[in-house]
Each structure stands twice: as structure tokens, then as C-alpha cells.
């Protein structure tokens, strides 16, 4: 290799020398200096001299040839040459001297030239180095920038820098070792960016999970405010309306929501634009949650070609979070706050998802979000069905309904279908009605239990107006009376009436915001009110009426009270009409059945009065103390019966305000019961013997009863109607006391028979008791003719009665 180089150099040098020689030969003396200088520039001086000597010898040989050819000329020439030799010697000395001088002077120059050469070499090296570095420097700068970006968590710019570095800068300097190190590091850095971004995303997911209920709460509050605004607008046209104003709209949110101080924004142009859009949609959400991590992460994964992985991960995680959010707390049904928190979380979840839908390209799509909503809706409804069924407080159910309506309205704004929620609200309405009925059952029970069952006394015009204001009672006669005076009904009448109206209000309250027509609301209210009247109130009244210790006082007052409540039903109809604004003539309008309830209650109370009186009569009869064997006749009725009759007199005397028909029925029922009981007393098997004297004493008692019946204890009976209750006894006793058997036996079966109501079986039973008596006294009777005759007569009559009985039974 080096030989080749030396050869090349020799050739070059030879050519150079030839050029110099030609130049010496052809150039004037004045220009020989630079020529000679060029010889000394190189290091080939020796060779040049050899070539010069060779050239001189050649020229000498040429000269000799010419001399030989041209002798004279030659001699002349030699002479000339000898001269020249002298001149040449001078010239040589001069040149040598010059050369020496030049050599001396040139030494410094050579040194300087050496230094210059060294400098030029260094400069070239530096220039080459600079050129190399100029290629490498951008790479290093990029890498440094990448490191800075990684350190400051600006991963998306870092990723861009990394991509740029890998594809643009590194290929240019790939042969350097440090570049290999960089190339090896790039995959690691890329993974690091992915991991850190994923970590940010997880933090983001945790953040939105944590703040879901705050976001939801804010959204619900905004929906509430919007609704209030709508209500204000709607109420404007009705200022002049005569329609009765509805109760105040229920307000769920009282306190202002505390806002968390917003996180510092990352410096990103893209986010600025998106933030503005976000502000318009949900101001609160942006204040609570920093969405930039999800955007950055999405971009990073897109650039890294792993967008699908990211989307799948995001959706998977959000589905998990959705299931967590949709898991209601076990005691959610205990308070409204339990429900509110649940709804806030759900709303917050979907507000975030809606935000993601509108601020990213394809991270979530409508299909995905609708699928999530489908699941959410079914789970929410199932949870609400379960938990609302535990509610026993109608106020809580009502608050829950308002909350559900707000929940539905809020999500509807974001484009989620909520019809199923309203369908479920109708189910809750039915449950609400049941809850109301239970509550009102308690209310009615309290009212009836605490009533004093006395007419309401009023001592002043003010008090009178107050009662009339509560209950629609109109009585001109009562109005004219001076104070103090009394209303005919007791306290529970206006109280029950008002509670029925409160119930109607409560039913109406539930129907608000359910998007029902007036007719639907009217129908629902009437149905619920019918249930209240025909079931709840009816049961309450029946329970009081059937109470073990119920007294005549209460029963009588209940009859009066229910009469007035029955009359008030038409006012309740008007009340419902005014409230729902549905005319009574509307087709298919449900009618109130309240009148039936009050009629039934009154009937039950009347029956109870009859039963109660009869029980009192039985208690008196248990005190009966007849001496069935007595031979003596007292001159007055038995003590127990006198007390009994006195009791009946005083009872009917004090209940002058009892409705006439009821009083008459009660009196007749009592008399019939008394007559039947007395008859049974006479005929019962335990009484085996009795005397005529005993019958006569018994007769005095029956006369006491008849006198009571004749005395007209209750007005309205025709003259002898009440006495008919005792006619069976009367005829039986007359038959025996007057011993009128011939008439009885002769007339039996005739329509106008004197003893028409005496049954022969009854007569025989009683006669047998007298016969036994006679038989026991048979020994004594033998000594008295009239006793013997009487015994024979009894036997005869008994025989005839048996024949009568058998002939009529065949």
C-alpha cells in the first residue's frame, strides 16, 4: 500500500521537476527566483540536482557535436565560452552567496511555516470535529429535552420528541456508540410513558369515582333550578285564575354545594378549547375533576398504536365502576339522603361519560354508553322497587318520588331515555297510596280513640265560626240559638273531614311532575279516596263500634256523627273537582263511595246499640230470683224487673237526640228481647215445678213490661205497636190464670181465636210443671175434694193437648 503511495509521489515529483527544468530553460532570468523557490519547497533538491547535471551533460554533448561540426565557430564559441566561464563563475559566486543569504533568512520562515502547517492541521481537525458535532448536537439536545419532559410529567410532548428523535435524528448518526445506547433506551422510555399515562388514567378514574356524587349533585341541582324557573314562567298566566293554588313545590336542595378548588390546568392548547365547551355543559364537573389525564392518555396511546387497548381498558374499568355505583347501600331506604347519594353517584357517572363522549373521538361511543345506561336503568329500577317497598313513611315516599322525578329530568337533559323511571313511579304511587292508607288508619284511630263522643260545645261566635269553617255544616235553627250552644256532632267529625282533605292533598302531591293528565290525576285521587273511605275509615269506625267496652253514649254519637259525615261527601266531591279542575260530568269519572261507608258504619252502630241494650237486659235477668213454689202473691213486680224497666226508661229518656227510627228500633228490639227472655225463663227445663201463685207473680212482672210499652218511652210508635212484643206472654198467662181451656180447645185453629198465639206444645210444657206440683202434694190432696178435682182436670186438659198436638203434626 505505501509503496503504491511512494510511486505516485515519485511520478508527481518527476513531472514537477520536468516542469521546473522547462521553466528554467524557457524563462527569463528575472522569473527564475520563484522557479527555484518551488524547488526548495519540496524535499527533492538532490534529485533535481541530478537531473540538472544530467541535463548539463546532455547539453555539453550537444555542444561538442556542434563544435566538431563547426570548428572555427567552435573555437570562437570556446573563446566565447571561456568568457562565459568567467562570467559564470562570477554568477555562481553571486548565486551561492544569494543562496546562503536566502538559506539564512529562510530558516525563520521555515519555522513559521512549520507552525502554520500545524495550525492548519489542527484547524482542519477542529472543523471536522465541529462538522461531526453539528450532526450529533441536535440528537443530544433532543434527548435532553426528552428527559426534561419526562421529568416534568409532560408525557405527550415527550412522546412526540421521542418519535422525532427515533425517526429523524438518530438515523443520521447511528454509527456512534452513544447513539446505540439511545436507541436501546427508546423502547424503555416508550413503555415508561405508557405506564405513567396509565397510572394517570387510573388516578383519573379514581378521581371521577370519588367525585361522582358531587358532580351528580351539581347536575341535579341545576335541573332543579331549571324546573323552578320553568314553574315561574308557567305561573305567570295563572295570576288572575280563580283556581286554588297548589301547595309549594318541594325543594330538595337547601344548602349550597361546596366546590373543591380546581386542580391546576396543564398547559395545553387542545385542553383550553375543550375546557370552554365543558364550561357550557356542566360548570361543576370541570371544577371537581381534571379531565386532561384522559385526553393525554388517549393521545399517547393513539400515537403508540395502542388506542384499542386503551379504549378497552377504559370501558372495562368504567363498567366496573358503573356496577359499583349501581350497588345501593343496604340501608338506603331509611332516609332520603340514602337515595339522594345513590342518585347523585349515578348521575355523576353518566355526566362524566357524556362529557367524555363529546370531548373525545371514539373513546366512548353512543352504543357503548346506551348499553351502560340500559344496565344502569334496569338495576336502578330493581333497587328502587326493593328499597321503596321498605318505606313505611308516606312523607319519605313522597320525597323519594320528587327525587326520582328530578333524577329522571336531569338524565333526560343528557339524552338518556327515562320512560321506565316514570312507569316505575306509577308503581311507587300505588305503594305510596298504601302507605298513606296505613298512615291515615293511624290518624283515624287516634282521632276516634281520643274523641269524647259528646256534642261540641261553643261559647262564642268566634268558636262557632271556627267549627263551621272546618266542617261544612249549615243549620239555620242552630245559628239563631243564643250562646252557649252545641253542634250535634262530636269533635271527630270536623277532624275526620279535614284529614280526608289532607289525604287528598297528599295524593295530589305525588301526582305532580309525573306528566299525567288532569283526568288521570282526578281518577287516581278518587280511587284512593274511595279506598280511604270504604276500607280505612270504615275499618276504623267498625273497630270502635265493635270495641268490647263501647257504651251507648259512644254508639249514639257515632250514629249522629256518621249522618253528618255522609252529608259532607258532596262537599268532598266538590273539593276534588276544584283541586283537579276536572268537571264532574266528565265521562268515566270515578264517583266517591263515602256515603256507603257512613251508612254501613251507622248501621253497625245501630246494631251494636240493640246488642248492647239486650246485653244489659240479660244482666238484669241474671238477677231474677223467682220462688216458683210460692203460694203467696206479692203485690208488686220483682225488684230486678223494676230496676230493668227503670233503666230502659232513663236510657231512652236521655237519648232524645237519637234518630227517631233508631230509637224506635232499639226500643222494639229491647222489648222483644225481654219478652223472649221471660218466656224462656218460664219454660226452661231447670224449672221443674211451679205453682199458680208463681205464675201470678210472674204476671205482675209482665204487666210492668206492658205498662212500660204503653207509656210511650220513645215517640213515634202507634198506640199498641210496642205492646205487641209481649202479646205471646200475655195470652199464655191469661190462659193459665183464667183457666180458660174450654175456650182454647174449642177455638184452636180458628182465625179469630182468643189465644191465637199460644202454641199447644208450650201450653203442654207449662201444664206439665203444674201437674208435677200436684202429684207431689198428692197425699194432702186426697183429703181435699177440690184438689182432687183440679188434678183430674189437669190430666184431662193434658190429654186433650197431646191429641191436639199429634193431630196437627200428622
Amino acid at each position: 500500500m505505501e509503496r503504491a503511495k511512494m510511486a505516485e509521489e515519485s511520478l508527481e515529483t518527476a513531472a514537477e521537476h520536468e516542469r521546473i527544468l522547462r521553466e528554467i530553460e524557457s524563462t527569463d532570468t528575472a522569473c527564475i527566483g520563484p522557479t527555484l523557490r518551488s524547488v526548495y519547497d519540496g524535499e527533492e533538491h538532490g534529485r533535481f540536482m541530478e537531473k540538472l547535471e544530467t541535463r548539463i551533460r546532455n547539453h555539453d554533448r550537444e555542444i561538442e557535436k556542434m563544435c566538431n561540426f563547426h570548428y572555427q565557430g567552435f573555437v570562437d564559441s570556446i573563446t566565447e565560452l571561456l568568457k562565459v566561464r568567467g562570467e559564470a563563475q562570477k554568477l555562481k559566486n553571486q548565486v551561492t552567496d544569494t543562496n546562503r543569504k536566502l538559506q539564512h533568512e529562510g530558516k525563520e520562515l521555515v519555522i513559521a511555516m512549520e507552525e502554520l502547517k500545524q495550525c492548519r492541521l489542527q484547524q482542519r481537525n477542529i472543523s471536522a470535529t465541529v462538522d461531526k458535532l453539528m450532526l450529533c448536537l441536535p440528537v443530544l439536545e433532543m434527548y435532553s429535552k426528552l428527559r426534561d419532559q419526562m421529568k416534568t410529567k409532560r408525557h405527550y410532548p415527550a412522546l412526540k420528541t421521542l418519535e422525532h428523535l427515533e425517526h429523524t435524528y438518530l438515523p443520521q448518526v447511528s454509527h456512534y456508540r452513544f447513539c446505540k445506547v439511545m436507541v436501546d433506551n427508546i423502547p424503555k422510555l416508550r413503555e415508561e410513558i405508557k405506564d405513567v399515562s396509565m397510572s394517570d388514567l387510573k388516578d383519573f378514574l379514581e378521581s371521577i369515582r370519588k367525585h361522582s356524587d358531587k358532580i351528580g349533585e351539581t347536575a341535579m341541582k341545576q335541573a332543579q333550578q331549571q324546573r323552578n324557573l320553568d314553574n315561574i314562567v308557567l305561573q305567570q298566566p295563572r295570576i288572575g285564575s280563580k283556581r286554588k293554588s297548589k301547595k309549594d313545590v318541594y325543594t330538595i336542595f337547601d344548602a349550597e354545594v361546596e366546590s373543591t378548588s380546581p386542580k391546576s390546568e396543564q398547559d395545553s392548547g387542545i385542553l383550553d378549547v375543550e375546557d370552554e365547551e365543558d364550561d357550557e355543559e356542566v360548570p361543576g364537573a370541570q371544577d371537581l375533576v381534571d379531565f386532561s389525564p384522559v385526553y393525554r392518555c388517549l393521545h399517547i396511546y393513539s400515537v403508540l398504536g395502542a388506542r384499542e387497548t386503551f379504549e378497552n381498558y377504559y370501558r372495562k374499568q368504567r363498567r366496573k365502576q358503573a356496577r359499583l355505583v349501581l350497588q345501593p347501600p343496604s340501608n338506603m331506604h331509611e332516609t332520603l339522603d340514602g337515595y339522594r347519594k345513590y342518585f347523585n353517584q349515578i348521575v355523576g357517572f353518566f355526566v362524566v361519560e357524556d362529557h367524555i363522549l363529546h370531548t373525545t373521538q371514539g373513546l366512548v361511543n353512543r352504543a357503548y354508553i346506551d348499553e351502560l345506561w340500559e344496565m344502569a336503568l334496569s338495576k336502578t329500577i330493581a333497587a328502587l322497587r326493593t328499597h321503596s317497598s321498605y318505606c313505611s313513611d308516606p312523607n319519605l315516599v313522597l320525597d323519594l318520588k320528587n327525587l326520582i322525578v328530578l333524577f329522571a329530568d336531569t338524565l333526560q337533559v343528557y339524552g338518556f331515555p327515562v320512560n321506565q323511571l316514570f312507569d316505575m313511579l306509577l308503581e311507587i304511587r300505588d305503594q305510596y297510596s298504601e302507605t298513606l292508607l296505613k298512615k291515615w288508619a293511624g290518624v283515624f284511630r287516634n282521632i276516634l280513640d281520643s274523641d269524647n263522643y259528646s256534642p261540641i260545645p261553643v261559647t262564642s261566635e268566634e268558636t262557632y265560626k271556627k267549627v263551621v269553617g272546618q266542617f261544612p255544616f249549615q243549620d239555620i235553627e242552630l245559628e239563631k240559638q243564643p250562646f252557649p250552644k252545641k253542634f250535634p256532632f262530636s269533635e271527630f267529625v270536623p277532624k275526620v273531614y279535614n284529614q280526608i282533605k289532607e289525604f287528598i292533598y297528599a295524593c295530589l302531591k305525588f301526582s305532580e311532575d309525573l306528566h299525567l293528565s288532569s283526568t288521570e290525576v282526578d281518577d287516581m285521587i278518587r280511587k284512593s279516596t274511595n279506598l280511604l273511605l270504604t276500607r280505612t275509615l270504615s275499618n276504623s269506625l267498625q273497630n270502635v263500634i265493635k270495641r268490647k267496652n263501647i257504651g251507648l253514649t259512644e254508639l249514639v254519637q257515632i250514629i249522629i256523627n256518621t249522618t253528618h259525615l255522609e252529608k259532607s261527601c258532596k262537599y268532598l266531591e266538590e273539593f276534588i273537582t276544584n283541586i283537579t279542575n276536572v268537571l264532574p260530568e266528565t265521562v268515566h269519572t270515578t264517583k266517591l263511595y263515602g256515603t256507603t261507608t257512613f251508612k254501613d258504619a251507622r248501621h253497625a252502630a245501630e246494631e251494636e246499640i240493640y246488642t248492647n241494650l239486650n246485653q244489659k237486659i240479660d244482666q238484669f235477668l241474671q238477677l231474677a230470683d223467682y220462688d216458683w213454689m210460692t203460694g203467696d202473691l206479692d203485690n208488686k213486680a220483682s225488684d230486678y224487673l223494676v230496676d230493668l224497666i227503670a233503666f230502659l226508661r232513663s236510657t231512652f229518656a236521655v237519648f232524645t237526640h237519637l234518630p227517631g227510627k233508631v230509637a224506635q228500633t232499639a226500643c222494639m228490639s229491647a222489648c222483644k228481647h225481654l219478652a223472649t227472655s221471660l218466656m224462656q225463663l218460664l219454660l226452661e227445663a231447670e224449672v221443674r215445678q211451679l205453682t199458680l201463685g208463681a205464675l201470678q207473680q210472674f204476671n205482675l212482672d209482665v204487666r210492668e213490661c206492658e205498662q212500660f210499652a204503653r207509656s210511650g218511652p220513645v215517640p213515634g210508635f202507634q198506640e199498641d205497636t210496642l205492646q205487641l212484643a209481649f202479646i205471646d206472654l200475655r195470652q199464655l198467662l191469661d190462659l193459665f190464670i183464667q183457666w180458660d181451656w174450654s175456650t182454647y180447645l174449642a177455638d184452636y185453629g180458628q182465625p179469630n181465636c182468643k189465644y191465637l198465639r199460644v202454641n199447644p206444645v208450650t201450653a203442654l210444657t207449662l201444664l206439665e210443671k203444674m201437674k208435677d206440683t200436684s202429684r207431689k202434694n198428692n197425699m194432702f190432696a186426697q183429703f181435699r175434694k177440690n184438689e182432687r178435682d183440679k188434678q183430674k182436670l189437669i190430666d184431662t186438659v193434658a190429654k186433650q193437648l197431646r191429641g191436639l198436638i199429634s193431630s196437627h203434626h200428622s
Binding site: S454, G551, T553, Q619, L623, D639, D643, A646, A653, F655
Partner: protein, 202 residues
């Protein structure tokens, strides 16, 4: 007819409206209590059979309306009563002051020698007491009658009061009445018993 009791005693409760007469009777006869005040209209009664000194005594307890407007009706029952219980409310001084008026009413309308008993009801409401026990004891001594503080609500001294009165009536009349009517006796004796009973019943 075989009787389920040995004696029938008629008792009458009187006193101001609202002192607790009806509640006392219901507690005694049915062992029940109803805190709602429902004023009695006219007259009513409850029956309960108790054992006193081995005798089965059927007590017919008459409940009267304390209101003035029912006075005519209720006083008609005084004569038939064998025992009269005067009731006042320890939380209502006026009802105690009116006991004197009720005593006067007894003297005017009831049989001579009728047994009397003084009851101060609502003794469970100590915080609202207006009538001191000593005052009532003094009044009872003046009239030579027994005295109990009762609570129909808490069932304090109710049975004791009625039993005490029944025992006193039995002591006064028991020696003169036969056990049952089924016992053989001469006509004369029977007549005599009946007449005496009539005198007692007034």
C-alpha cells in the same frame, strides 16, 4: 231456679263529672282502662260477682252521670242502693269540696242506714295533687265512713274499695238472710224474711 250467688248488693257511684266514676267501674268489673274521657249519659251499670267471707256476692254497680242536667234521673236510683260510693278527684279541689253537696243529696234521697264509702281517685297523678290525704281522712271520720285513695288507671285500691263496702253491707244484713231459697222453711218464716228484706231494700 238455683241462683249462682248468695246475695245481690246494689251499689251506686256518685260524684262530680270527670272524677273517674266510670273508669272505676270498668276497672272493677272488667279490669280495663280507657284514658279518653267520655261523659256518662243518664245511668248505666256493671255486674261482677265476688267472694266475701265465703259468700258469693253479686255486685250490681250503678254508674251515674255527674252532670247537673241528669240529676232527676240519677237521684231516682238512690233509694234502691244498698251502698253509695262518693268519688272525688285528688287533682281537682272543687270535686272534693262538692262531696258535702253529694252527702246532702244522699240524705235527701237514699234509704236511711245506707252504707257509704269515700274515694279519692287519680292518686297516680301525685304531681298534680290538690287534695291532701289528711283532709279526706278528716272528712271521712266526721261522717264515720271508710276512705280510700284509688287509681283506676294504675289499678290501685279499686278491688279493695269495692270489697270493703261489700263486706260492710254483708255484716249489716248477712245474719238475717238465708243462703238459698231451696232450703225448706215454714211459710211464716219465709214471709218474715221477705218482709225484712223489703224493709232493707227500702
Amino acid at each position: 231456679m238455683a241462683k249462682a250467688y248468695d246475695h245481690l248488693f246494689k251499689l251506686l257511684l256518685i260524684g262530680d263529672s270527670g272524677v273517674g266514676k266510670t273508669c272505676l267501674i270498668i276497672r272493677f268489673a272488667e279490669d280495663n282502662f280507657n284514658s279518653t274521657y267520655i261523659s256518662t249519659i243518664g245511668i248505666d251499670f256493671k255486674i261482677r260477682t265476688v267472694d266475701i267471707e265465703g259468700k258469693r256476692i253479686k255486685l250490681q254497680v250503678w254508674d251515674t252521670a255527674g252532670q247537673e242536667r241528669f240529676k232527676t234521673i240519677t237521684t231516682a236510683y238512690y233509694r234502691g242502693a244498698m251502698g253509695i260510693i262518693l268519688v272525688y278527684d285528688i287533682t281537682d279541689e272543687k270535686s272534693f269540696e262538692n262531696i258535702q253537696n253529694w252527702m246532702k243529696s244522699i240524705k235527701e234521697n237514699a234509704s236511711a242506714g245506707v252504707e257509704r264509702l269515700l274515694l279519692g281517685n287519680k292518686c297516680d297523678m301525685e304531681a298534680k295533687r290538690q287534695v291532701q290525704r289528711e283532709q279526706a281522712e278528716k272528712l271521712a271520720r266526721e261522717h264515720r265512713i271508710r276512705f280510700f285513695e284509688t287509681s283506676a288507671k294504675s289499678s290501685v285500691n279499686v278491688d279493695e274499695a269495692f270489697s270493703s263496702l261489700a263486706r260492710d253491707i254483708l255484716l249489716k244484713t248477712g245474719g238475717r238472710r238465708s243462703g238459698t231459697n231451696s232450703k225448706p222453711s215454714s211459710t211464716g218464716l219465709k214471709t218474715s224474711d221477705k218482709k225484712k228484706n223489703k224493709c232493707l231494700l227500702g
